[in-house]
């Protein structure tokens, strides 16, 4: 039976059977790039976001005040540029620019990871900044009041809370990255979308190949979003806690779950 004689379903099965190796490899590359780049992007985003929220001390010298300001301006240019231009063009610009201007052939992996990471980093920088600013100012004051410096306050108190707040956004970025790696096909990265183009080009079965690839993308993104949701609940910790005693004095006015004889009123 030739392809022309097959039904829609038969063609899809044929594609999966014949190209399972390529599809798996494409899926692997897509996921690898998406996960590595989301992780690197988060690191960049945290670095940039933290610097953006540094307020120089009043007692700081003019030079250090100027330096902080200078670094902040550079970082805002980075954020604005990479958020404000299409990743597809950035890929072409960096990949071909590197070989033409500097004679560097980056290779598919390096180029792909570089481009997607710095792109994710630019978005994450703003997310992290927002996350830090939405942690109640009282948390900072509480930390300062027991003598913590800026670094200690950030690492022990603010960033863990900001991380929890921006978890949904990290999940968003992961899913966006899974889908957006397809623009890397412009520099010849053999990921899932590239595989789709090859299959459809070889068999002229655009609709069937698209359906198969679409289903694979959806399985990837749906699984990731569920995993992220699970991580969020894990971070929240148990909804209940164990009392470390059976002493009745432990039950105070705040606890309405237990009736404690003789402690009706405080």
């Amino acid at each position: 039976m030739t392809i022309a004689d097959m039904s829609f379903i038969q063609r899809m099965i044929y594609i999966v059977q014949t190209y399972s190796g390529s599809l798996l490899k494409g899926t692997g590359v897509t996921m690898a790039i998406a996960i590595i780049c989301t992780a690197l992007g988060c690191l960049i985003g945290f670095g940039v976001g933290i610097v953006q929220t540094i307020e120089p001390k009043r007692s700081a010298s003019p030079i250090s005040k100027f330096l902080i300001k200078f670094v902040k301006v550079i970082l805002s240019i980075y954020v604005e540029f990479f958020r404000g231009t299409p990743m597809m063009l950035q890929a072409a610009f960096i990949y071909y620019g590197a070989s033409q201007l500097f004679g560097i052939n980056m290779g598919m992996w390096k180029a792909a990871i570089l481009i997607v990471s710095i792109n994710t980093g630019a978005y994450m920088a703003e997310t992290v900044r927002g996350g830090i600013l939405s942690v109640d100012i009282g948390q900072t004051e509480g930390a300062k009041a027991i003598g913590m410096n800026h670094f200690q306050t950030m690492t022990s108190v603010i960033l863990p809370q900001a991380l929890r707040l921006i978890m949904p956004q990290i999940g968003n970025n992961l899913i966006i990255n899974i889908k957006d790696t397809c623009v890397l096909s412009i520099i010849g990265t053999v990921e899932l979308f590239f595989t789709f183009k090859s299959i459809s080009g070889a068999l002229y079965t655009y609709f069937e190949a698209a359906t198969v690839t679409l289903i694979i993308y959806f399985i990837l993104t749906f699984t990731c979003s569920r995993i992220m949701r699970y991580l969020e609940t894990r971070m929240d910790g148990p909804a209940n806690f164990d009392l470390a005693t059976t002493d009745t004095l432990a039950y105070t006015s705040g606890l309405n779950s237990a009736h404690v004889p003789g402690r009706e009123r405080l």
């Binding site: 300062k144 009041a145 027991i146 913590m148 108190v157 863990p160 470390a244 006015s253």
Partner: protein
């Protein structure tokens, strides 16, 4: 009886808004000083200036004879010795009750975990929160949170504790449990500076009372001076309502 804190001609303005004018008073070791006055009279701002959460516009905060703002000691070292309890508790939401009380000891005072835990447990027991060491702040009532916040401040072994309206965010039933803890501390000789609207606490517990109005110290003196024998007409007027209530 040494002087711990010396507030020297302290003023604070926000833009054109003058909040504190020429505040001058001392706190000695073992004193329980309460600052009373109407809302908006600058009590809380004064306390925040003393802890340098706000920078005084002029004047000095002098700690054991050292001007803190002048770089004689770092803000961090100073704050580690001057505990603060906030109206809104400000417990670290991402830490358990025990961890809240250990964090400062470990990171600021560089104590070992075991030492920090022992110290934290000692004070959590004192405020009656030892059974709750595994709870997160979100799982506690207001009164419980405030008692943990007091234990957190005490665990740093401060020389003086500042209280910024510690019971104002609590319902009447929970005010009692927090005031009990504060009374206990006062009787044990803890040096305290308390901004409060709890007039009976101010009258019964404090050794020194400061009455503020419009960003100035209107009158100060011993508890009996202020409550039984106020001199200034504004103090009299302010205390009239309290007297009627009791």
């Amino acid at each position: 009886m040494g002087e711990i804190l010396n507030i020297n001609h302290l003023s604070k303005t926000f833009g054109t808004n003058v909040v504190l004018t020429d505040i001058d008073f001392n706190v000695n070791t073992g004193d329980v000083t309460t600052i009373i006055g109407a809302s908006g009279s600058g009590k809380s701002t004064l306390l925040r200036c003393i802890n340098l959460l706000e920078t005084p516009t002029s004047g000095d905060v002098i700690f054991h004879g050292i001007k803190v703002a002048d770089g004689g000691m770092s803000e961090e070292d100073y704050r580690a010795k001057v505990g603060m309890v906030f109206q809104s508790f400000n417990l670290f939401n991402n830490h358990t009750v025990l961890s809240n009380c250990m964090l400062g000891q470990i990171r600021v005072l560089k104590k070992s975990k075991a030492e920090a835990k022992e110290q934290a447990m000692k004070y959590l027991e004192k405020v009656g929160m030892a059974p709750y060491i595994n709870a997160k702040p979100a799982q506690l009532s207001g009164g419980q949170k405030q008692r943990v916040a007091i234990a957190r401040a005490l665990a740093m072994d401060p020389e003086i504790l500042l209280f910024d309206e510690p019971t104002s965010a609590l319902d009447p039933e929970m005010v009692g449990e927090v005031l009990e803890v504060m009374k206990k501390l006062a009787h044990e000789g803890m040096t305290m500076l308390v901004v409060t609207h709890e007039m009976s606490f101010a009258r019964d517990i404090s050794s020194h009372v400061v009455f503020m109005a419009d960003g100035k110290i209107e009158e100060e003196g011993s508890s009996s001076d202020i409550f039984s024998n106020p001199k200034s007409p504004r103090t009299k007027e302010f205390l009239t309502r309290f007297r009627e209530d009791n």
